[in-house]
């Protein structure tokens, strides 16, 4: 009748869920009713997968979809493509209540957090095999620390089935670690998305599974600003999947630097050690020479040479001093020499007969022959004008 009515292609219906049944196919069938009416609803599995929460009987919801006829029964049905919990905020109230409860329980406490092993050999990854997040993780691991071995447990990361799959993947990797190959650390990750898309990581079961994992867990869910219960429960919370991979392994660039440093220390030490050894050998050599007889003689010879050199030095010094002394003496002697005095203008007068030096006029009589000696020679002279001598006995 109103099959072609465009109005029925885009319908919102508010009501309470009842007669909810989930078919083996994954499709949901239920009735939406209010005080006066009831409407059959079907929700296909693909739409169910996008729900944040499992619908329950009694839930007050706002359903969106289109109305059409189910021909076999000849009834109108609402084909639901989205289902919102009526009464905005129930989800968040539940989330906050759950968070508070788990926190009070100590699930998020720092003391529970285990250290992330610095050198993992095997890493378990819980995420969707099809998503970009996995490629980000693997590329980061390959670039930073390709020595590591990765075991992937692929899961859905959104929708109502995601939480149980994530829980199972964490458990499976723990079993694998115990039975087959030890796994050192787990990465539980999902790329960025809407709040609804990240909701699986706010599931209580997921938070508990992360806390219960015997292998330490690094979470990397969404973007920098997204905090999920999985993040709170994890041993280490990384902001993104790439961040989780980086937190899980050391950086090869840094490792190469550290290796280079160790190598330089090794070489530097050895060069120094060889230098010391060379000095030791030199010291030993000279010690050896000192204690051998040949060396002794050579040593004595050298000492004699040394002494000789010292003596010569002394001698030369002495000689020089003597010479200076001699010069001084000569100068003094020269000062005393009669010729030196004569050069200054004095003369020596002698009696020509006796060569007696005349020192007094009493030795002189008028007419007496004298010899006068000056600096460059002598000449004769005769005494005259001799003063009269009183009481001359002669």
């Amino acid at each position: 009748m109103f099959l072609q009515d465009d109005l029925l292609q885009d319908v919102w219906v508010e009501g309470e869920i009842s007669n909810l049944s989930r078919a083996a196919s994954g499709h949901y069938y239920f009735t939406l009713k209010d005080a006066s009416a009831a409407l059959s609803c079907v929700m296909w599995r693909s739409q169910v997968a996008r729900l944040l929460q499992e619908p329950r009987n009694g839930d007050a919801v706002l359903a969106h979809g289109y109305i059409s006829i189910y021909e076999q029964r000849g009834t109108y049905q609402l084909y639901v493509d989205s289902l919102q919990t009526a009464g905005l905020g129930r989800l968040f109230l539940e989330f906050e209540a759950l968070k508070a409860r788990l926190k009070a329980e100590g699930l998020f406490s720092e003391e529970r957090k285990r250290p992330i092993p610095p050198w993992p050999r095997r890493i378990g990854v819980v995420t969707s095999a099809d998503a970009a997040a996995l490629r980000d993780i693997l590329r980061t691991l390959a670039a930073r620390y390709p020595l590591v071995d990765v075991v992937l447990a692929s899961t859905l990361v959104q929708g109502v089935e995601a939480p149980s799959q994530i829980v199972e993947a964490i458990a499976a990797l723990n079993r694998w670690s115990e039975k087959h190959e030890p796994i050192d650390v787990l990465i539980v990750a999902r790329g960025g998305g809407s709040l609804e898309e990240l909701w699986a990581f706010n599931d209580e079961r997921v938070a508990r599974a992360i806390a219960a994992s015997r292998i330490p867990v690094i979470s990397g869910v969404g973007h920098e600003t997204d905090f999920t219960l999985a993040d709170f429960a994890a041993d280490y919370r990384a902001p993104t999947p790439t961040g989780a991979a980086a937190a899980a392994v050391p950086d090869a660039v840094e490792l190469r630097q550290r290796l280079g440093e160790l190598l330089s220390r090794l070489v530097a030490f050895m060069i120094q050690r060889l230098d010391t050894a060379r000095q030791d050998v030199g010291r030993l050599e000279s010690e050896l020479q000192r204690s051998s007889p040949v060396a002794l003689i050579a040593d004595r010879r050298q000492r004699v040479d040394d002494l000789t050199r010292v003596l010569q030095m002394h001698i030369q010094h002495d000689l020089a001093m003597h010479r200076a002394q001699v010069e001084g003496l000569r100068a003094r002697l020269e000062g005393l020499s009669p010729t030196h005095v004569l050069r200054r203008g004095y003369a020596i007068v002698q009696r020509a007969d006796s060569r007696q030096v005349v020192r007094s006029i009493q030795q002189i009589a008028p007419g007496l022959h004298l010899r006068v000696r000056v600096a460059d020679g002598e000449f004769g002279a005769t005494a005259r004008d001799v003063p009269e001598q009183e009481e001359d006995d002669e």
């Binding site: 990765v150 992937l152 079993r175 290796l259 030490f269 050894a277």
Partner: protein, 80 residues
């Protein structure tokens, strides 16, 4: 030497650090020092080789026919 090849990067690196520390502590004869030096060089080479040659190995956990679990190589992630 076959043991040597089995040695993990972590072990080789730790031994190298230890070797350098022992050398630097001193008190060793020249022969002992030389032996430790050569050992250190070997370990450093081993570490470098491991870093150079390593390729990330990725496997996926899948159900085994016996009801348990097994792994298979996970490939194709390097493309695009």
């Amino acid at each position: 030497m076959s043991d040597e090849k089995q040695m993990s990067f972590e072990e080789a690196y730790a031994q190298l650090e230890d070797t350098v520390r022992r050398l630097e502590q001193g008190g060793l004869s020249l022969e002992e020092s030389l032996a430790l030096y050569e050992r250190g060089m070997e370990l450093a080479t081993l570490c470098m080789e491991q870093l150079d040659q390593a390729e990330l190995r990725v496997r996926q956990l899948i159900p085994a026919p016996d009801g348990g679990m097994t792994t298979e190589p996970f490939e194709g992630w390097e493309a695009s």
